[in-house]
């Protein structure tokens, strides 16, 4: 038995295939997308659950109403009969008894066939393939012209229009008129397409239902007999949840790109953590370690009653290793290492430093460490070969192949500033506009200035409004007079005078 559900749309309303599919899947796993507003589903056996087919249809309609879907429902023993009935009759629910298909279809207008068979033998393009991608196969017009699906759809529509025009010229009005024509004569005049129209009109067309593939949901859940607290018992529970999840991902040849764990707490609230993995991973042990490390930093505030883990699947990685370079860490190992370091040191305390486009002294950013990007033209093996050759030739300070000095030769020994993230407040004695004595904590001490260079004035964001946030140090606008000072007790420091707030600070040490 088949049921067809057709959504009634008001003017300007767009059909929602997702909602319709969710409704249909609540009743049957075998659902075919006929078009954007119509689905056919296999309801064979459901009459045993609801008592009879009328009850099945009523339940279907009731569920649709509860979800705000206005629709018509038709149920018949054949898919084509249910489809023609749902398009041809105005009743909200029609159940065609078995053996009465021809009689039920007889009075329907011929135009209903145009809506049903216009997609040709393949049906509507939306019905082909995965329903989740159905919108991708629906005819669209792009800036490069019409897509192939669009062309096929238009061609089928023109063909159906021509067929309908011929039949009208013959004086046919209803499906019964078409069904009554002699089959051989019709085949001789209209070909196989005409004969297929007649089979549809007789309700004899027997194309099987082609169910849309269901989007796999990679979710595992475990209800606990009693609440658990602490990470150690939770790690065992996570292992039991993640093992089957890993098996399911492996069967689908997929891996988790995003991992979400939802913990239902005894306080009746969800504790949700989501991990965005840098590479698709499906090893349950790695996933468990990553979840535990994250939960170590963000522990649930109460006992856990239920554990649910959801993985967003992604295609697995294909990695080609090189024989000439040493094996690096796999993505799983690197992710685990970074997660361990983050759990140890804190959020945003581990990563790759990056310069940002700012003149603010000490401005930087910390970005996720992504070592996969190789240096262009300087793989490790090549670099090592070059160094060995240079050593053998007695050369130092190598030159890059294009004539530019290599980073080693260009940089040489360059003095580096050790920057104090929180500048040290200092007392500075000034004579003739130049600092002559500096006193500060953290090992700087109180020393006379042996020599100094400066001042260099830097300022920024003075054009912006001074809001309450900007009043805080190291935020918003700034204006400094920088000095390099060599102290008699040893050490060269960079100090500055804050021209906006007053006072002297030690910002770093040259080392």
């Amino acid at each position: 038995m088949f049921a067809c559900v057709h959504v009634l749309l008001s003017s300007g309303e767009r059909p929602s295939l997702d909602r319709l599919m969710r409704l249909a899947r609540d009743f049957s796993p075998r659902v075919e997308v006929v078009d954007e507003a119509t689905v056919a589903l296999d309801v064979d056996g459901l009459e045993h659950m609801w008592g009879n087919l009328h009850a099945v249809g009523a339940a279907l309609r009731q569920a649709a109403i509860e979800r705000g879907i206005r629709c018509r429902v038709a149920i018949a023993a054949r898919r084509i009969v249910a489809l023609l009935t749902v398009h041809g009759r105005d009743a909200a629910l029609t159940v065609v008894e078995s053996g009465r298909e021809a009689a039920s279809l007889a009075s329907l207008p011929l135009t209903v066939l145009e809506r049903v068979v216009e997609g040709g033998s393949g049906g509507h393009p939306a019905s082909c393939g995965h329903w989740g991608n159905a919108w991708g196969t629906i005819p669209v017009r792009t800036r490069f012209g019409r897509s192939s699906a669009d062309r096929r759809f238009r061609e089928a529509r023109r063909s159906a229009g021509r067929m309908l025009q011929i039949m009208r010229r013959w004086g046919l009005e209803t499906l019964d008129d078409l069904a009554a024509l002699p089959r051989d004569e019709l085949l001789a005049r209209l070909g196989a397409e005409g004969e297929r129209w007649q089979r549809c009109a007789r309700g004899a067309e027997s194309r099987p239902l082609v169910p849309a593939s269901e989007e796999p949901v990679f979710e595992e859940s475990l209800e606990l007999d009693w609440p658990i607290e602490g990470l150690e018992p939770l790690s065992f529970v996570l292992g039991r949840v993640l093992d089957p999840l890993g098996v399911r991902l492996a069967r689908a040849d997929a891996a988790a790109a995003v991992l979400s764990v939802r913990l239902w707490l005894v306080t009746r609230v969800w504790h949700v953590r989501t991990l965005q993995l840098p590479a698709p991973i499906r090893d349950p042990r790695v996933l468990r370690t990553l979840l535990l490390l994250d939960l170590e930093s963000h522990p649930p505030p109460a006992g856990v009653d239920r554990v649910t883990v959801t993985a967003t699947p992604a295609p697995t990685r294909v990695v080609q290793f090189s024989l000439l370079e040493p094996a690096g860490l796999s993505a799983e190992q690197m992710t685990t290492l970074l997660a361990r370091l983050t759990a140890l040191m804190g959020e945003r305390r581990c990563g790759a430093p990056a310069l940002i486009d700012s003149h603010r002294p000490g401005a930087f950013d910390v970005r996720p460490f992504d070592p996969d990007r190789p240096l262009a033209g300087r793989p490790e093996a090549e670099g090592r070969r070059r160094e060995r050759g240079e050593r053998e030739r007695g050369e130092r300070r190598p030159e890059a192949g294009d004539g530019r000095p290599s980073p080693i030769a260009r940089a040489g020994a360059v003095a580096v500033l050790r920057r104090f993230r929180i500048p040290l407040a200092a007392r500075v004695a000034v004579d003739d506009g130049r600092p002559v004595r500096v006193s500060a904590g953290s090992g700087v001490g109180s020393c006379a200035v042996e020599a100094c260079a400066g001042p260099w004035r830097t300022s920024g964001h003075w054009w912006e409004a001074l809001s309450a946030v900007d009043r805080q140090a190291s935020a918003g606008r700034w204006s400094h007079d920088d000095w390099d000072v060599a102290l008699r007790g040893g050490g060269v420091y960079r100090i500055y005078r804050d021209r906006m707030r007053g006072g002297w600070f030690v910002t770093g040490m040259m080392d």
Binding site: E325, G328, L329, Q333, M334, L337, R340, L341, L344, M345, R349, C350, G351, A352, P353, A354, L355, G362, A363, F364, F369, D370, P371, R373, P374, L375, R378, E380, E382, R384, E387, R391, R396, S406, P407, I408, A409, R410, A411, G412, A413, V414, A415, V416, L417, R418, R419, F420, I422, G443, A451, A453, G454, D484, G490, G491, V492, G508, M510, D511
Partner: protein, 266 residues
């Protein structure tokens, strides 16, 4: 055969066997014989790119060993470390820095030639008082252990410069035996940066950086603006083969802002 001659012959026969046994037990690096006989030099050293330091070290920082760079304030410790990082990242190696007091300046690092995308920066926390600082040091050591176990980095450094001595003395001495065992035979060069020598493995080296009096160089004069030009330093290396320190070598560290100025105008 006289007893003395027999003993000499036995010694000659058993010494190679004993050395082979020590190498098999991974104790061969304690031998005074050249441990690099069986490996290519390029796979056992991580050059820093600074001629004076590489000469003193005999090629670079030894891989698979714990070495250290020590010196006082403004003696070029961070400069030497950044040069080693720059050379390693130019070779294509990954490098990692455990920055205990969070004093690394990315801008200076980029000026020194480090490819920042290949540097894993582990930031500790400055300040926090006695207990807070102790926790910071403990975490830094744990982070160093994780990085060394990962076996993915060419150079891994732990910056303990400016950490108070009383905190360094609280570190269990077994730490300095455990860490070298982790990287033994691996291609990672582990470097400690500190104010004074703390620890090195049997095959590791200590790079001592020192600044004499009037070591700071300036350019400019009375009628023109003065600019920090750089530092005159000396470097020597101490290791198992030169336990009293090698020859001192001169090293000039240029201030980044004065990189294009002539050296003579000081």
């Amino acid at each position: 055969m006289p007893d003395g001659e027999e003993n000499t012959k036995m010694t000659a026969l058993t010494k190679p066997a004993l050395e082979d046994l020590l190498r098999a037990e991974k104790l061969g690096n304690t031998l005074f014989s050249d441990v690099y006989d069986h490996k290519g030099l390029e796979f056992t050293m991580a050059p820093t790119g600074i001629v004076a330091i590489d000469d003193a070290l005999g090629g670079g920082l030894p891989r698979g060993h714990l070495s250290e760079i020590v010196g006082g304030r403004s003696t070029g410790r961070a400069s030497a470390l950044c040069a080693a990082f720059a050379a390693a990242t130019a070779r294509g190696d990954l490098v990692a820095l455990v920055d205990t007091l969070d004093t690394f300046d990315p801008e200076s690092g980029a000026a020194a030639g480090i490819d920042l995308s290949r540097l894993l920066w582990i930031r500790g926390r400055a300040g926090g008082g006695g207990d807070g600082m102790q926790r910071t040091v403990d975490r830094a050591l744990k982070a160093l252990g994780l990085l060394l176990q990962a076996d993915a980095f060419g150079v891994v450094a732990l910056d303990l410069a400016n950490v108070p001595d009383r905190l360094l003395r609280r570190i269990p001495f077994t730490t300095w035996f455990r860490l070298p065992r982790v990287i033994e035979g691996r291609p990672t060069a582990c470097v400690l940066v500190a104010d004074r020598p703390i620890a090195r493995s049997a095959g590791g080296m200590t790079v001592v950086l020192e600044a004499g009096r009037s070591a700071v160089r300036w350019v400019g004069g009375a009628n023109q603006s003065v600019l920090l030009r750089g530092f005159d330093l000396s470097v020597r290396a101490i290791g198992a083969r030169q336990p009293y320190g090698g020859r001192r070598r001169g090293l000039f560290v240029t201030a980044a802002e004065a990189a294009g100025l002539p050296v003579s105008s000081s």
